[in-house]
Structure formats: C-alpha cells, structure tokens
Symmetry: C2
C-alpha cells in the first residue's frame, strides 16, 4: 500500500519504545506526562454527568455545533475571566477534543508544506510531530529558566519569517520553565511588529505551587495594542480535571477561529457533547476552585520531595531549576566526577534499576542537548518519589 508522502516527515516516537517497558512489575515511573488518577474528582464528575443527562439529555447525546456546546463555551469564558482574561466572549473560543486537537487544527489551518514554525527547544513532543505532518520546517528557539530567550526569538523571527511561533510559557513541557512577565510582553510586541501568529499553549498554568505565575499572554494582550490579532491561546481540562474527557479549547482571532472551525467540521464534526455537557455542569457546580486547590497542594509536595531527593542523592551530577508549577523537572547531567552525562544511556540503566523517565533528546526539534532528561513528579507519591530517586542514584 502506498501512503501519503506527509508520513515521511515524521518518525515513530522513541518514547513509545520506552513506554512499552513501563509495564514491567515494580517500575517507578517518572516518565508519564499525565496527572495522577487518584486525584480525579470522580464524585463531582459523576454528579455532573447525571445532571447533564437529566437537564437536557437530548443535547448531551445529539450532534452539536462544531464550535462547541454553548453552555460549556459560556462556562469556559467565565473560567478564563477568573484567570485574568476577562474579555473572552463565548463566541471567541471553540471547544476542541483536548488541546492536542487545537494544535492539529492550527497545523491544518495555518501550515503549508515548507512553512517555517518556531518552537521552544525543548518543546512538547506531540507538537513537533503534529506540525511536521503538515509539512512544517521547525526552528528551535533556546529556553532558560525564564522561558524562551526573546532576543534570539526576535532574530529567528526576522530571519525565518515563520508561519507561527509556538510557546508553552507557563511551566513548559518538558522545560518546566516560567516565561517572565517582561518576556511575555516582549513576545506580544514581536507578534505585532512582525505580524506573526503566536500560539500560547497553556495546559499547566493552573498548577502553580506558591504564588500565581504572571498573567497569561492572553490576559496581557490587553496591554499590548494589536497583539490580540496575532495570538492564539489553547486551554485544557486534562491536567486539572480529567484527560479522559478530552475537553480543550482555543481562543483565536475571528478569521482564524472560523477556518479552524471549518477544519474541525471535517476532522471530527464536534467534540463529544456528552463530555462537553459533563464539563459544563462540573464548572457550573462550582467545584473547580476546590479541585485546583487540592491538585496544587499535592503536586507541590511531590515537587518539593523530588527536588530534595535529587539534591540529596544525585548531588552535583545533576543540574536543575526547582519548578514553581506544572508536572515536570527538566534536568541536565553534568558528568561531574565521571558520572554518565548522556540522558538516553542513563534512561537505559535506570530501567534496569526499576525507575523510568524520558531522556531529553526527543523534545528537541533540532540540536538536541543529549545531557537532558525529563522527570515527572505527578503520579508517584512522596515515598515512591524518594525510592525512585534513590534508584536513579544507583543507576548513575
């Protein structure tokens, strides 16, 4: 069988091979990018579904508008307002099948084969693959603890004239980095100056441990004239409520939103109204603030535990910035005292010791730093985190 040429643009994920090993009994996993199932508010979701099936079962089970189930769009508009973006009307967002679909729709709507796209180095693996399937040529912009380097970003935009710039400004995956307020404004100014679409992917922004992060670029766009015309914002309930609902959303300028909606019509018609009506009732019931407070507290403890254990057990062999939110540590092997400095090699030895993580290489669209690795603290409790890090030390 002869397949479409676009499939030549990507390769099967190296991570997939690693994930097959996770089934081994006794493995402690720092590898996943998912939240802890034990924290799902099952009662709240059950109640929301039952309400949805009682209040308007016809709508919850029938075909719906491609743009999204209107009561959910209204709830999401309020949810965004509570987070500082208080001028997003329900009509300015569409519901997507997880924020992964928002990325797919951006690719389908924006990217012609050969178009350039700037992403962070490192960035979300599925974004790299998603955009490459549409023929994008990816350019990698370097990231430090304060997010993407905006001076380099400007040079890259000027040089490559990209179709879009994709960023995860708040607790990035895998970088854990937090883009500073100053840099956020600078990115918005660059969007206007170069008339370049900037995509703010924000699945982790609600998962902060101490003080709240700077406002989203969406919220800040009100302060940078013209920037809203060049900004798309992707949100998701996956990391804070439940990934299984597959409820995400995208806020974008009207002409982009209209085209993304048209593409969505032929991608999956609409996101499950059953899941959308459930999410709408959940938000309406007012349970989200307590749910957020709970997950923030648990993840904060786990992040704290992982940071302490890494410092204690791995010492100067590893270098990292303690994350202020999200689900990940992004670390670099220093090679100190002749220890391993290659993330992939370390991952292999770690599996033998019964602990898994993802080496950093696949997260780079170009010029990977082989010494890097991503550790998720989301799914193991504090005791397992300490045990897992002790095993890492043995592997090293």
């Amino acid at each position: 069988m002869k397949f479409a040429t676009r499939l030549n643009n990507i390769e099967t994920s190296a991570i997939r091979e690693l994930f097959k090993l996770l089934g081994k009994p006794g493995i402690i996993s720092f590898a996943g990018g998912f939240p802890d199932s034990a924290m799902f508010d099952v009662d709240g979701i059950r109640e929301a579904t039952n309400t949805a099936l009682t209040v308007d079962p016809g709508a919850a089970l029938q075909y719906g508008a491609t743009e999204g189930y209107q009561p959910l769009r209204e709830q999401l508009s309020s949810f965004m307002a509570a987070k500082g973006a208080n001028d997003v009307a329900p009509e300015q967002l569409i519901v997507t099948t997880g924020s992964q679909q928002a990325l797919d729709l951006l690719g389908k709507t924006m990217i012609s084969p050969g178009d350039k796209v700037i992403v962070e180095g490192p960035t979300f693996l599925a974004t790299i693959q998603c955009f490459r399937l549409y023929g994008a040529e990816l350019i990698s912009a370097p990231v430090d603890a304060h997010g993407v380097n905006t001076d380099t970003l400007e040079q890259l935009i000027a040089e490559h004239k990209p179709k879009l710039v994709y960023l995860i400004p708040t607790f990035g995956n895998p970088s854990g980095a937090l883009l500073s307020l100053e840099r956020r404004k600078r990115v918005l100014e660059l969007a206007v100056k170069y008339q370049t679409l900037v995509v703010e992917d924000d699945p982790y922004g609600d998962l902060f441990f101490g003080e709240a992060p700077p406002p989203s670029m969406l919220a800040l766009s009100a302060q940078v004239p013209g920037s809203r015309d060049w900004l798309a914002h992707c949100g998701s309930l996956s990391k804070v409520l439940s990934p299984g609902l597959r409820v995400g959303w995208m806020i974008a300028p009207p002409e982009l939103l209209a085209r993304a909606t048209m593409c969505k019509q032929f991608s999956d018609a609409h996101t499950s109204t059953f899941a959308q009506a459930t999410a709408a009732q959940y938000l309406k019931a007012g349970r989200m603030p307590a749910t957020l407070a709970h997950v923030r507290q648990v993840y904060a403890e786990r992040a704290q535990a992982m940071g302490s254990a890494l410092r204690q057990h791995l010492g100067e062999a590893i270098d990292f910035v303690q994350p202020q939110g999200g689900l990940f540590f992004w670390a670099r092997l220093t090679g100190a005292k002749g220890k391993i400095a290659d993330g992939a090699e370390f991952a292999k030895r770690a599996i033998e010791q019964g602990v898994a993580f993802v080496p950093g290489v696949p997260f780079y669209a170009a010029n990977p730093d082989r010494s890097t690795l991503r550790l998720s603290f989301a799914t193991a409790d504090v005791a397992r985190i300490e045990e897992g890090v002790a095993r890492l030390a043995k592997a090293l």
Copy 2:
C-alpha cells in the same frame, strides 16, 4: 493572516446557509442527517456511565491508548461478529472520534496532494470536503438504486488509478441506495485486481426496515481471497445509539491501521475514554439489540409515511425509490406538468412554506444532477411528515 494553501481546496458549505434558516419557528425539517433525540436510550446510557465510573474510574477519566479503550475494542469486536464479520479481533480495529475522524485519518494517512479518489455521485458531503482538504482530486462514480455501477467503477479505477475508492454501500447518504450482493463481491474483486484500497463507510447498515441487507463488504471479504488486504471499514454508534458520544471505529489492514493510529496520536491523542468506557458498558449490558429493534421500527414507520405522502401529494412530479433502511429519501424532480425541476429553487420555495430539505447539488463531487434532493424522515413524527410533505406540494 495568511492561511494554509489547502484551505483553497474547499468552499464553505452551501448547506450551512440553509441550516441557519432552520431556526425559524414552525419549520418542519427534513434537512438534518441526524437521528431523533427522542429515541436515545437515556436510562441505558446513564446506567452505563455510572457503571464505568464505579468499576474503573481511573481508566475512564485518564489518558488512554490511542488505539482505543481495550474493553470497548473487545465489545466492538463482538458487535461486528454479531453482524457477520466474525473474524475481527479487537486489535484489528481502532476507536475513532466518530466515523468522521476515520475519514480524516484515512485522508491524512493515504492522500497526497493531487491523488485521485473515487467517490459515489452523490456521496456524503463531509467526505468530499475532508478528502479535498488533503488535496484529493475527486472522481465521481454513478449510483443507481442498487448502489454504485460496478462496470463504470472498474473503468474509472483503470483510468484514474485512485488512491482509494470510498463507498457507503448500505443505505447511502444521501442516495439511500443498497449495493447488491453481486456488486459487493465485484467491488472486492476490483480492489484485489487493481490493488486499490476500498473504504466501506457503514453508519446506517443496522437501520434496516424489513429483511436484513446483504452482508457488509467486510463480512464478504472472507469469500474474496486477498480482498481484506485492500479493505477499510468504518463503523459508528452515532446513528444507532448517540452521536454525542462521538464513538466510531475503523477496521483496516495492519500497516494502514498502524499509520492511522500514529496520525490519530497527533490529531486528538485518543477518543474520550469517558465516552468509550460508557459505550463499552452499554454494549456489555446487552441493551443494543432492543435499542436497534426500537429505532428500526420507528424509522420504518416514518419512511413508510413519507413514501406514501410523497406519492399522494407530489405524484409524478417526483421520482424516488422507497428506501429499505437508513434515514433518507433521495428524490428527483421530474418537471412533469411544468412543475419545478431544480432542487435548489424548490428548497427556497419550500422554506417559504415552512418545510426544509437539502437540495442534491452539494452531494456531488462533480457533474451534479440539479433535479435531485434529499429528504430525511428521521426526526419528524408521522403527523409532521404528512404535514411537511403537504407543504412541499404547495411549494411545488
């Protein structure tokens, strides 16, 4: 903003404009392609969800395998077996976000810009648009009451060497046609002879009114050596249980299924596990046979009522074959006695009389027959069908 060039391949649906008028009070609609909400088994679905959230809430609310939720794949394997395709292992199907997504994944996996694809004339509108977004050049094969004309189909395959042939063999949308047993086997032989992928889209096959239709091409493929290697089959719960769940599936040769799964990973990661677990519990509970019996009976009555009313009120001004299943009448205006012979003109006048349907033109990828129209009998009850057809007569 500059969008992807692929958007130039399609135009906004003419149907969309029509659908905006459906909100007018008092309109009787024969326009929709959706089932009647009043027939949804709400209690059964509520019970299924509650069971799913009790038995394994972690799995129902967490990320899941891109291929689909394993208990659902197992239930769908049994469901297919009960319909005569008794050799489909759970691993030979993937769950899709409605069968619309199966079409999208086929497009993404198979179609390079400029590739040719053969579809029926007329065919499902969203298929036309979906494939065109991937750059397909569509070739239209004529359909009669017994489905696609296989002699012409062979000529077209030989001439155009298409990437795939897309058919809705059982109660087609919009044709209502039923591909005969003999032609089904012939299509499978053509797939083997020309080594051409045939896609059997089958959302309506369960909705038969009298005796069951011929076995699906999937079931028949066992009788045509080699044909299974060139056959993809798309199924859906949308028309028989609930479109709002967005649960469909695709059965395909392993190398195609693997690539479609990879593409799905970057399209929406996976279909809502919440909806999948609900569907799995629904099927497991054994409610489907009664649900199918119910919807078949109601739609059979409505189809009967519409056929009688059309003959009585429109007489020789309209020509159609009484459908043996599905949701649609496909009719042709004869122009007898100087009556209107243009479907679009008739649709406008019908709206003025308070009844809506879809003219046939948009359903053709090429060479539309302007005298055609599609009437759905799914959502109006018998009294409304009779009143609606009487209004059609007035409009004519």
